[in-house]
Symmetry: C2
Subunit: 750 residues, 2 copies
């Protein structure tokens, strides 16, 4: 359904040739809060740094007081960077076939994401690491508020159409997502698809149980637990298969240092002679201990709010419910208070978490992300599950005993004894409302709200921009500045899109993964209370997958194509949830399948204890079985590796024997900038056979005339440096004039 | 203390030059139960198969009706096999530096065990795998009752002297053990050493607790549990470090098919083109399901015997104890019955286990061993721990209630009420007697008994041999046969040693590892009952290590130098024992630290449940901390790997650029047959730098004149084939004559 809606960024694009402008990267330079001369200085440094590195630049007006600095990497530099990246992969053991060539070799990227990754490295890596060192929102570059690759529109739309038409994504579809957005995003969609497919079994079973059985069925509970263990163990193996398919197995090994990483001493590796920046592991471990007080703080703060709201709500509805008919609005008071306070508390905790993770001083982004996700999981876990845990294990069983103590004595007289009861069905209601309705609310928050918000902001901005441009036109600008301020007709749609993308939030794949993780937790922990839950989740996920893709291409900045060989640290969270889910399911079945007042604590404990042993044994067995079955992909990978070494050996032997073999070689022909690679191409790269003929790379510097015109036309008149400075002054003038309507001392620039 | 004893095999060796005979392998051909013409036929086939493969043979008389077939691999063939083995290691990714050379390259082995492994492969691998296909006790070769490499006496004695002088074995000592006996044995001694060192902490703490505290101290229990988790996690990492040091990391990947392996179909690998013998994984999995009934059977059979004995003993000592003063011998009845019946039951179960494992049809010996060890662990677990588990969790807490039901009513009148009590200290006594006294008994069974037994057998055999030789001399034999029957003076000590080695049992490293594993289990599960236990184990292990080495070189056949990258499947058993140990310790502390009659089941369950959660959390945290700290060896390994690839890359680049580098090469100089490699040599092999000059291999075919004489003298007179046949007839004649004192129709052979 989403795919038939109008797409914001493509609203403006009527011709399909925007990509021919060959813009590799966009940097948003916002000088709104900066003094004019500072703004100009900083802008000059930015352009100098980029151009000194050999990259081409263009500048255009952005929204408000911002400039869009467009970056293009010369094809030769890019091709060489792609080659270097592949050599690095080989050195770190991620691929096994050696890329042929020397330090000047130029290759074409296999996929857009591979190319974009090289561009990303060239722009953002520090000079030491071999990049221009432009890192958004950090230190010297605090004025650079966004740094991204423009969306590949044609490919995006085509892929969205394809995905919308399919019921189940095949591995080729995942290949294409990965080719456009990188492995990390690819893994998320692979996980979402696999998880949804796995959901079919509990959905069908759950529906059956809902029809023929009562809730809290032991058999259904056991099925869900077994299913969850199998799914997580299967997924761990699936990740390995996919990472082999995508050549990213063990990619964590070559991640570079974070820019924020500080080191205590530099050491020269005695073996490779490389300089290593060291930070003692024990110091980091000590800093990570702060995680414990953080978890306590988070539990206390969030838990406190949730408990208070929960009790207030329970009191009002269960105790006073019948007596409050006059003040019906009162019963919504707790939930409103919660809705107001929770974001503040969560926000504060999240920023504390970020500061803690930063303080832990992780060397790579992967490690930093791990630390962040751990903390985020704690927060999410508390807010998502605590209300249900309270209901299931405290309120329903102990409510009748606890409530009287919580009500002031003066109120007790108002309540008749028979009103005072806690419904044993309350848990089921809570489960339905929190898990099922939660999904709908989530959908609204995730898709509808941002969509509406963005459209409103867009309208406002267009109105304001219109005003400003009019002001600019009215003022005495040189013809040249005017030309800078007004978009050329052929660039209009491109620039409109880039401006929108520049202010859009970057796509956060971890957030979406976390959402699925929490959903999985609902199912394993409380699924037994409501057998229709998996069906609901299945339907939700069918929409979610397409919705997420729509959001990714329409509402978000294109994420940097970061590589990864799994969905990240949340796999451990999934494992944790299977464990907790087993305990919880056992406890719920024990408590709720009969009369709850008859439950004895020792029996309950015994049930949970036995469930835990069953869990450990089952997991071990499933692990064993999966190990015995093994993976075809892993076997092929090993055979390939052996074959490659064998070939090398043969080559060496024959070289030593005096004969010279025609060198096996794999050359990447043609340009496939937006076309995802097919598996045959990957095949060729993997198995360089002598049948692939080496071809001299003949490439035009530009792919299209349009591109050439775009990148060269202004050069004749003036450089990017000067053009930008003129724009800054002009726009600053507008800002000033709309503030004070005076000051034309900067007129000499215009 | 052991090393000052007389050593059997070296009793006969007074000169230190036996190794100069250059015997690589010994095969014992026993024709005792075979008809003469069959015996001769089979012998001919054996020699033909060995000699057809290019190996040299000699034959000597063995004990009784057996021949010692001595095998020598020509140095060139051996050197090439060593090279091929290294290439295979490289192909399978076990080492990262490519061995230079072509199919005819010859290299010297780094260590005796590397050389011996190649000999082992040449002799025992099937013809398909590239060996002579001589597998002892199997199919065609059922008359080959032993197949082993002779001990390297000088090196053994030197090493024993060194180990006896040291308190703690350093990693260089382990290197030397590994160099002589292979990685598998090396890992066992490394484990034993590491475990003993780790024991120092609980030994010291335990002694303190024993002095100042009561048994069942919660703090001591927690310390032991934490210690056990840390030890196992540490050891898993230590294994990786050692396997990197010994270049065996991931060596499981290149293990060849077992001879007993049957396959259902042959497939050609589409990638490497190699023929693969397939047996469906699901079929094997189904067969492995029999493990469950086996475990049930073993538990029932062993458990039944143990329970009956246990109850009988308990009844007699605790109930009738005071009334049986007249029949004091009765109280030993149960233990005697147990001692008689247990070996039979265990033996039967072990043979069932072996047949099951065989039926599971594992492809490699490693997998077969895993299956075997799993089953052996179940048997050992039941026999070792069941009595204590029964005492701790059934007899002491429930004894007073249970016993009256077990005693026939007619007896009850004989017992006064006050006699009838179960002592709460009984567990501690049981723990002391089973774990501590068990170690002493074990020592006796392992070292003293075999030593005495062997010496007695040896004396008997010497007496019998003397008789036979006299008989042989008295009979009409040709001079040549006489020369064959009587050992030449210079060979006497060698042959005496070889005969002894041929009938000695092969060293079983898994058995010794299992013993340590069970000891570890005693400590984690019941250590809290008797804090002096770790001290006792520490002392025991100090002796055990030296005793095991003494046993290995003096009482056992030299084991084939099988490679391995860990102590094997028992690591999982150790992990299992840390888990069970935590639960058990928590339960024991809860039950026994106060008054046992006051214990409530629900509280006990809660304690155990919480202990399990604490265990899981602790393990996760320790895992996390170890991961964060990482391993220096792994880091170096990765750097080395990168460096090697980098060098290749540079070489390739320069080759492509037209210049030719002097080829880096590593050649193994000199012969180090019995001298263990030093770490510098390994270093060189790892980092082939251009500073190592390539040297033409000049090698004499024989290392010593003595060797040349030994292998060539008889050749002038007759071949091994004929000599052996003559010996068979002569010996068979002796057998016959001592049986029937008649029949000289075979005289034509003599």
């Amino acid at each position: 359904m989403q795919c038939k809606r109008s797409q914001l960024f493509s609203d403006h694009t009527d011709n399909d040739s925007d990509e021919d402008f060959e813009i590799d990267w966009v940097v948003l330079y916002d000088f709104g809060d900066t003094e004019l001369h500072h703004a100009i200085d900083k802008y000059e440094t930015l352009i100098r740094d980029i151009e000194a590195f050999g990259l081409e630049t263009e500048v255009r007006r952005g929204h408000g007081t911002a400039l869009l600095v467009l970056i293009r990497v010369p094809r030769n530099q890019l091709g060489n960077e792609v080659y270097r990246s592949r050599v690095k992969d080989w050195l770190f053991g991620i691929v096994h076939s050696r890329p042929l060539g020397d330090s000047a070799t130029i290759v074409d990227a296999d996929t857009p994401s591979e190319e974009m990754r090289s561009v990303f490295h060239l722009v953002t890596w520090t000079k030491e690491q071999g990049g221009a060192g432009i890192t958004a929102n950090l230190g010297q570059w605090e004025n650079v508020t966004a740094s991204f690759s423009p969306h590949a529109w044609i490919a995006n739309t085509e892929l969205l159409r394809k995905l919308a038409a399919k019921t189940v994504l095949g591995v080729e579809d995942l290949d294409q997502i990965k080719a456009l957005f990188g492995e990390k995003v690819g893994f998320y969609f692979a996980f979402l698809q696999a998880y949804s497919l796995f959901l079919v079994l509990p959905a069908v079973l759950g529906t059956l149980f809902w029809i023929v059985s009562t809730p809290y069925s032991a058999i259904f509970g056991m099925t869900v637990c077994l299913w969850s263990i199998i799914f997580v163990e299967w997924w761990k193996r699936r990740e390995i298969d996919l990472s082999i398919r995508w050549n990213v197995n063990g990619v964590g090994a070559l991640k570079v240092n974070r820019v924020q990483y500080t080191w205590e001493k530099q050491e020269i590796d005695p073996i490779t002679g490389e300089v290593q920046k060291m930070f003692p592991a024990h110091k980091r471990l000590l800093r990570q201990v702060y995680f414990i007080p953080f978890a306590v703080l988070a539990s206390t703060a969030l838990g406190g709010i949730l408990v208070v709201t929960f009790l207030a709500e329970a009191l009002i509805s269960d105790v006073f419910g019948n007596n409050l008919s006059g003040f019906w609005a009162v019963q919504y008071l707790p939930i409103i208070l919660l809705a107001v306070s929770l974001p503040y508390v969560t926000g504060t905790l999240t920023s504390i978490a970020a500061r803690l993770s930063e303080h832990e001083n992780h060397r790579t982004n992967d490690e930093f992300e791990l630390a962040q996700v751990q903390k985020a999981f704690v927060l999410n876990f508390i807010t998502s599950f605590l209300p249900m845990i309270l209901t299931a294990y405290v309120y329903v069983p102990y409510g009748p005993k606890l409530l009287p103590h919580l009500i002031p004595d003066s109120w007790q007289s108002h309540i008749s004894a028979k009103d005072f009861r806690v419904d044993a069905h309350r848990l089921q209601e809570e489960v339905i409302s929190l898990s099922m309705a939660g999904q709908v609310i989530n959908f609204g928050e995730e898709f509808v709200l941002p969509y509406v918000k963005r459209h409103l902001m867009e309208a406002h901005r267009r109105y304001k921009d219109g005003q400003e441009v009019t002001t600019l036109h009215q003022r005495m600008h040189s013809e040249y500045t005017k030309a800078l301020l007004v978009d050329a007709p052929q660039e209009q749609s491109l620039l409109a899109r880039l401006r929108a993308e520049a202010t859009a939030p970057p796509y956060d794949v971890q957030e979406d993964t976390m959402e699925m993780c929490i959903q999985f937790g609902y199912l394993t922990m409380f699924g037994v209370a409501y057998p229709l839950m998996p069906l609901g989740f299945l339907i939700n996920n069918w929409i979610e997958l397409r919705g997420d893709f729509f959001k990714l291409i329409n509402e978000c900045q294109r994420p940097p194509p970061i590589r990864s060989d799994s969905i990240g640290p949340l796999v451990s969270a999934l494992e944790f949830l299977t464990w907790l889910g087993t305990l919880s399911t056992a406890a719920l079945v024990h408590m709720y399948s009969g009369d709850i007042s008859q439950v004895r604590l020792s029996r309950l404990l015994l049930t949970v204890f036995l469930a835990e042993q069953a869990y450990l044994a089952t997991k071990l067995m499933i692990h064993f079985i999966f190990d015995k079955i093994g993976s075809e992909a892993v076997r092929q990978e090993e055979a390939t590796r052996r074959l490659i070494r064998k070939r090398y050996l043969e080559t060496f032997s024959e070289e030593l024997a005096g004969t010279s073999l025609p060198q096996a070689s794999h050359t990447y022909l043609g340009s496939r900038r937006s076309a995802p690679s097919t598996s045959t191409q990957t095949q060729q790269a993997l198995y360089p056979g002598p049948e692939v003929v080496e071809v001299e790379c003949v490439r035009s510097e530009y792919k299209s005339e349009k591109g050439e015109r775009f990148w060269n036309q202004r050069k004749e008149v003036t450089g990017t440096r000067e053009a930008g400075m003129k724009l800054i002054v002009a726009l600053k003038g507008v800002q000033k004039s709309s503030e004070t309507s005076g000051g034309n001392d900067k007129r000499k620039w215009i």
